[in-house]
C-alpha cells in the first residue's frame, strides 16, 4: 500500500477505500475509513500521490509529540541486554508531490487513538497511548494498523528492573516501510525510575524505505531525532 502513485489511483480493503479519480486539472480525492468519508478536490496536472505511514500523534488532533507503549512486564537482570518486538499504532498520511513541493492531503488511522499522562499532572507529559503484546521475534501484523518496534533494553542498573513501558519522542523520527512499518529504539535503564530512550535511524529489515516526513510537508524545519529521558519510572 505504501509508496508513490500516479493519478488515477485506487486502493480498496475491508475497512478502507482510497481513490483519486477524474480529469487531470481537477481530480477528486475520496477516502472512506471506518464509516468516515472525506472528499477533496485536487487542482493538479503533474502531481503524484504518496501514501506513507506517519508519526502516530496527529489524530484526532496533535496534542503531544510523545508515544507511550505499555506491555507485559519484562524483568531484566542487572547488566543485561534484551531485544523485544512490540507493536505501535500507525497513522497513514496521504501526500501530494509536484515540482519538489509536498503537501499533506489527509491523515487517517484504522486504530482508535487514546492518550495518557506519563508522570504527574503538574510536571508530566501527555502521551499517545498504545498497549502491545511482547514478541520474541518480528510478529506478523496488519501493516495498515500497526508497525513493529524493535526495542533493545539495556539494564545498566545494579538490580533487577521490571520494564513495562517505553516512552519516546516522535519529533523527527523516521519510520521505515515495506512489507511492514518499522522502528528501532534503544532503552538504557539506569534505575527503576530512569531510562534513556533513543530512536534508531536504520530499518528493521533490508529493502525497507524511509517514510515521507510530515515535517517536510508541513513546511517545518526538519528536527533532529531527540533522545527522551524517562524520569517517572519504567514499570508500574
Amino acid at each position: 500500500m505504501f509508496g508513490e502513485y500516479d493519478f488515477p489511483f485506487k486502493y480498496e480493503s475491508e475497512n478502507l477505500s482510497l481513490s483519486i479519480a477524474g480529469e487531470r486539472g481537477l481530480l477528486t480525492y475520496k477516502r472512506r475509513c471506518l464509516g468516515e468519508e472525506v472528499t477533496k478536490l485536487l487542482g493538479t496536472t503533474q502531481g503524484k500521490v504518496m501514501i506513507s505511514p506517519v508519526e502516530p500523534i496527529n489524530l484526532p488532533q496533535e496534542v503531544t509529540p510523545y508515544l507511550e507503549i505499555r506491555f507485559t512486564p519484562v524483568a531484566c537482570e542487572p547488566d543485561s541486554v534484551q531485544t523485544l518486538y512490540l507493536t505501535f499504532p500507525v497513522e497513514i498520511g496521504v501526500f501530494l508531490e509536484a515540482k519538489g513541493s509536498y503537501d499533506v492531503l489527509d491523515i487517517f488511522t484504522l486504530t482508535s487513538p487514546k492518550y495518557s499522562l506519563y508522570g504527574t499532572p503538574v510536571e508530566g507529559i501527555i502521551t499517545r497511548y498504545h498497549e502491545s503484546d511482547v514478541f520474541p521475534g518480528i510478529p506478523e501484523i496488519d501493516l495498515v494498523r500497526e508497525g513493529v518496534l524493535s526495542l533493545t533494553i539495556r539494564n545498566s542498573s545494579r538490580g533487577w528492573v521490571e520494564v513495562s513501558r517505553v516512552v519516546m519522542d516522535c519529533t523527527g523520527f523516521v519510520l521505515f516501510c515495506g512489507d511492514m512499518v518499522s522502528l528501532t529504539a534503544r532503552m538504557e535503564v539506569l534505575s527503576r525510575d530512569l531510562a534513556d530512550v533513543r530512536i534508531g535511524d536504520k530499518p528493521l529489515c533490508t529493502g525497507m524505505f524511509p517514510a515521507t516526513l510530515l515535517a517536510r510537508a508541513r513546511m517545518r524545519f526538519i528536527p533532529e531525532t531527540l533522545p527522551f529521558m524517562m524520569e517517572y519510572g519504567v514499570g508500574g
Binding site: L59, P60, Q61, V63, T64, S101, S112, P113, K114, Y115, S116, L117, Y118, P121, V122, G124, I125, I126, Y129, R218, M219, R220, F221
Partner: protein, 284 residues
C-alpha cells in the same frame, strides 16, 4: 543659517546627530524591506510562527549592526557615555517611574516566565489567551475576542492563574439518575463511553461513582482528566454524550421531586415543580 558643525555635546556636532538619525532610519527601512522579502519568499516553505521568529531575529540583527556602524560618527568617549547614560537614566527614572516599573516588571516576567504566548490565563479579572508579551505591557485576547493591554507592572502585582501550565486538567460532572434506574449499569456504560474517547486520559483513569443518595435521585460523579490543550472541548462534548447515552438506555435524569404524606388519610402525593400537585388529584 544652520550651523551644521555646532557642537551639541563634547565632540558631537549637529551634523553627527543628523547622520546618526538618518542612518537609524535607513537601517529601519532596510530591516522592513528585508522582512517583507523574507515573508514573500519563505511563506510557502516555513511554518508561519517560525517565519515570524526568523524575521524578528533578522530585523534585530540588522538594526543592531546598523546602530553599531552609525555610532562611530559620534566619535564618542565611553566614559562620557557612561556619565550621560547614568545621568539620563536617573532623570528618566524620576520622570517616568511607571514606565520604569513596567519595564522592570517586564524583565522579571521574561525571566520568571509565569506567562507564555498562547497560554490561557486569568490575570486579575481578565481571562483570555496571551497574544503578545512586550517590554512594557502584555496583550491578552479575551475569549470574546477583545484586545486587552495590561501594563506589566499590573501583571507582576496581580494574581496569575495559568489554565494550561500543567499538561493535564481534571473536571467533573454530577449526573443524577432516578432511584428506579440501575446505577451499576449506568456507571458501566459511562465508563465504556469514556474509555472510547481519545482525549479522556487512560492515566490518570477517569473515576465514575455514586456520590450521594440525593433528594430527587442517585447522584453519580464523573471525574475526567484531559490534556490541557483540549480540555474544554472534551468537557463540552462528554456531557452531551453522557446525556445521550443515558437517554438511549432509558435512564431518567429526574426533576427535583418531593413525596408528601397526608397525616389524616395516609395518602401520598408526589410534587414536581411546574406540574400539578398529585396530592391534590388524590384528594378528590
Amino acid at each position: 543659517m544652520v550651523a551644521w558643525d555646532s557642537v551639541i555635546y563634547g565632540s558631537i556636532t549637529l551634523l553627527d546627530l543628523i547622520i546618526f538619525f538618518i542612518s537609524v532610519i535607513v537601517v529601519l527601512v532596510i530591516a522592513k524591506i528585508v522582512a517583507l522579502y523574507l515573508k514573500r519568499s519563505l511563506s510557502d516553505r516555513i511554518d508561519r510562527d517560525e517565519l515570524d521568529k526568523l524575521i524578528k531575529v533578522v530585523q534585530i540583527a540588522i538594526v543592531g549592526i546598523g546602530i553599531w556602524l552609525a555610532l562611530p560618527s559620534f566619535d564618542f568617549d565611553v566614559g562620557q557615555l557612561v556619565v550621560i547614560g547614568g545621568t539620563g537614566a536617573l532623570i528618566i527614572a524620576f520622570a517616568s517611574q511607571k514606565i520604569v516599573g513596567n519595564l522592570g516588571s517586564g524583565m522579571f516576567l521574561l525571566v520568571e516566565r509565569p506567562v507564555k504566548i498562547g497560554d490561557t490565563m486569568r490575570i486579575g479579572s481578565t481571562e483570555g489567551t496571551v497574544h503578545q508579551i512586550r517590554v512594557l505591557s502584555t496583550i491578552i485576547k479575551t475569549f470574546e475576542g477583545v484586545y486587552v493591554r495590561i501594563p506589566n507592572e499590573s501583571i507582576f502585582n496581580s494574581e496569575i492563574t495559568n489554565f494550561v501550565a500543567s499538561p493535564a486538567r481534571r473536571f467533573e460532572y454530577r449526573v443524577s439518575i432516578a432511584y428506579d434506574a440501575d446505577s451499576g449499569a449506568a456507571i458501566a456504560a459511562i465508563r465504556g463511553l469514556l474509555a472510547n474517547h481519545p482525549f479522556v486520559l487512560k492515566n490518570p483513569a477517569p473515576s465514575v461513582y455514586v456520590d450521594s443518595l440525593a433528594d430527587s435521585g442517585v447522584a453519580i460523579v464523573v471525574r475526567i482528566w484531559a490534556p490541557s490543550k483540549v480540555w474544554w472541548s472534551v468537557r463540552t462534548e462528554m456531557l452531551e454524550r453522557i446525556k445521550q447515552l443515558l437517554d438511549g438506555m432509558g435512564i431518567e435524569i429526574p426533576f427535583p421531586q418531593r413525596v408528601i404524606t397526608f397525616a389524616n388519610t395516609g395518602m401520598k402525593g408526589k410534587q414536581e415543580p411546574g406540574g400539578d400537585n398529585h396530592a391534590a388529584e388524590n384528594r378528590g
